[in-house]
């Protein structure tokens, strides 16, 4: 498979945070391994969902991909360019190609800017730095057309963020992310803060935009149902690692990793008859701390199918069939 097919290629990504102790003389008391060796790639036009529970490292992964968090190790290639190797100027220019949508539309918009200015800001910054040539009238017009495309009436252009509802604010955030014509959208829990009826509006909007603008998505969410609806491919994370990665349909019908199985069985189904007939895998205990270094599989203490060898060395992500990788000794691996 030629490499240039991938829009985004992430290899061996690690983000470790130091734990500092002491008030005056700080010393390092260990590491929080938030992201601990993550590999994945996304083809153009695909939507990859990163799913996992709080603290599993999915947002840190997104921030490291977006170069908003320095990686401890590993590379992030966007169309073959290693983003970490770019100069500050080069990175700024490259940001045109990847943009973010955040979870909380309340805190990710400047309360003192009007909607139109929020959306125009990326264009203004790029114009000022000579990275695009657009005069202010053209920028204003573009911002209005983006608002329209994201389902916001042009009459809202002069309003401030607090005058919008949560769903509308998220539309502003999306319009802003689209302003520079990015290829990749990194969306970190874009619908988690929204009510059910608004959530589906935003998901459908994102789906339409994906088609119209030929977008590729790295989509982060804790809600498996949302991920399965939106994404073509899903990666399940646990304690900083990907434990299983495959396409959405396979993930729904044939999950392999015991953690994926438990996660899927824990998601409540909006169907009382199915719920009554369901056998849930209830995992014991909580997610352990990412500051402990594990010799074996990090999931083994909660795993209903743990074996002796699981405590000896960690399993690595291996393909069980075309397009389905799992990190578990039940499916072979050394």
């Amino acid at each position: 498979m030629p490499e240039n097919q991938y829009l985004l290629d992430v290899r061996g990504l690690k983000v470790h945070f130091p734990i500092e102790k002491g008030l005056v003389f700080k010393r390092n008391a260990g590491w929080v391994r938030a992201v601990d060796g993550v590999d994945f790639s996304i083809r153009k036009g695909e939507a990859l969902g990163l799913v996992g529970e709080s603290g599993c490292g999915k947002s840190t992964t997104a921030m490291a991909v977006a170069q908003l968090q320095t990686a401890t190790a590993g590379q992030v290639f966007l169309e073959g360019r290693d983003l970490a190797k770019l100069s500050a100027k080069g990175l700024r220019a490259a940001r045109k190609d990847f943009q973010l949508v955040f979870q909380d539309p309340y805190s990710s918009l400047d309360p003192r800017q009007k909607a139109q200015d929020i959306i125009a800001e990326p264009l203004r910054i790029f114009a000022k730095n000579g990275l695009i040539t657009m005069d202010d009238t053209a920028i204003q017009r573009e911002a209005l057309s983006l608002m329209d495309r994201c389902g916001l009436s042009a009459s809202f252009a002069g309003r401030y963020p607090h005058e919008f509802s949560g769903g509308q604010r998220q539309r502003i955030g999306i319009a802003r992310a689209l302003a520079l014509g990015p290829k990749l959208i990194i969306a970190d829990e874009p619908v988690s803060a929204l009510d059910v009826s608004i959530q589906s509006q935003i998901l459908n909007l994102l789906k339409d935009l994906q088609k119209d603008f030929d977008l590729t998505f790295l989509f982060i969410a804790h809600d498996l149902a949302v991920i399965e609806y939106f994404c073509t491919k899903i990666a399940v994370m646990y304690l900083g690692r990907i434990v299983e990665i495959t396409d959405s349909a396979t993930m729904a019908k044939n999950p392999l990793h015991p953690y994926t199985k438990a996660l899927l069985s824990a998601v409540p189904l909006p169907d009382p008859r199915k719920e009554r007939g369901r056998r849930r895998i209830i995992l014991k205990g909580d997610v352990p701390s990412p500051s402990i270094e594990y010799r074996g599989c990090p999931f083994r203490e909660r795993c209903p199918e743990a074996m002796d060898r699981c405590s000896l060395s960690p399993p690595s992500l291996m393909a069980t069939e075309e397009g389905h990788q799992v990190s578990c000794f039940l499916y072979g691996g050394a």
Partner: protein, 332 residues
């Protein structure tokens, strides 16, 4: 369906006076709770689900809040007319509550065993030692490992799921008749949510505790509830058994909600339905159906007046508040 009713809410109105006008957060709510039943109250943010339940225990802060009308009948008494002292004796003993965020609902500077024991000491007049022993027993019951040792830990030493277990231990320590759970698992991860829901289910089945479960998650409703009330803009728009609600929803809002949630088993449609617009502002609401501007089946009458609550089945008390289902329209 013959189980006795233990709580009856009748025409409850709770309003808040704000600078911008009067907000009727709860606007004429009635429902019945039977012994051992799990009643779900679903709705989006601001629909009045939490205020309904705070009103039952008279926990609405006043001012700005004010319970303007209605009755809450428990054990033959109207709690809204009872003295503050009488209600205080019921709280935690007969009716107890668990909240969404266990960290802010627990006292950070008290050992958890003392917090669990407080209700036992207060309501059963037990001594410190006996109450602590009962607290440890409760902690074992709700599945806190190493309960004897952990009883002397403080809330911050527990994980989110464990804190919610402690809240449940507190709430159930006096064997209440009614447990009100306000979004008990919203702040938790899905595998922990499954643990907590399982726990509430088992414990309530054991003691025939009635549960009022407030949630926005229709999946949780499907798995937990016997009966469901759907709230919109301060009113119950549909009341039905859980099966009726999911397989034969009557109100266009219920239908819309069900069609807009993705399902993890990919049984849903390729494209989700979405209800246009956003929930209304509750300040100075006009006398019209509040859902009319977003409704796919809106008629002329909907903008003119509020539809009455129509009883569809007297025995199951299934009802809907929509002009499509009023007697005149059904017969027409």
């Amino acid at each position: 369906m013959s189980e006795e009713s233990i709580l009856r809410v009748e025409g409850l109105v709770t309003q808040f006076s704000t600078d911008r006008g009067l907000v009727k957060a709860v606007d004429g709510i009635s429902f019945n709770l039977r012994r051992g039943e799990t009643l779900g109250i679903v709705g989006e943010s601001g629909s009045g689900k939490s205020v309904t339940n705070l009103s039952i225990l008279r926990l609405v802060q006043s001012p700005p809040g004010n319970i303007a009308a209605g009755q809450v009948i428990f054990q033959g008494r109207d709690l809204l007319q009872a003295s503050e002292e009488e209600v205080r004796l019921l709280r935690g003993k007969n009716i107890s509550m668990i909240f969404q965020d266990p960290l802010t609902s627990l006292n950070p500077v008290l050992k958890v065993s003392m917090q669990i024991a407080e209700a036992i000491q207060l309501h059963h007049g037990q001594g410190r030692k006996a109450a602590r022993a009962k607290a440890v027993e409760m902690m074992k019951l709700i599945g806190i490992p190493d309960a004897e040792r952990r009883a002397d830990d403080y809330p911050h030493q527990f994980s989110g799921g464990m804190r919610q277990r402690i809240m449940i231990a507190m709430a159930l320590s006096c064997n209440p008749d009614i447990l009100i759970a306000d979004e008990p698992t919203t702040a938790l991860d899905v595998t922990i949510q499954a643990q907590i829901l399982e726990l509430i289910k088992n414990l309530s089945a054991k003691d025939k505790t009635a549960v009022i479960l407030i949630t926005h998650d229709l999946g949780v409703v499907a798995g937990m509830c016997d009966t469901v009330c759907v709230m919109y803009a301060g009113r119950i728009v549909e009341r039905a058994s859980v099966d009726e609600l999911f397989y034969d929803p009557k109100h266009p809002y219920t239908r819309g909600l069900l069609d807009s949630i993705p399902s993890v088993d990919l049984s849903g449609p390729d494209r989700l339905y979405s209800i246009p617009g956003a929930p209304p502002n509750l300040i100075d609401m006009p006398d019209a159906c509040p859902f009319a501007p977003r409704c796919s089946k809106v008629m002329e009458v909907c903008a003119r007046s509020m539809p009455p609550e129509t009883l569809l089945d007297a025995e199951t008390s299934r009802s809907v508040r929509c002009w499509l289902h009023t007697k005149e329209n059904r017969n027409a």
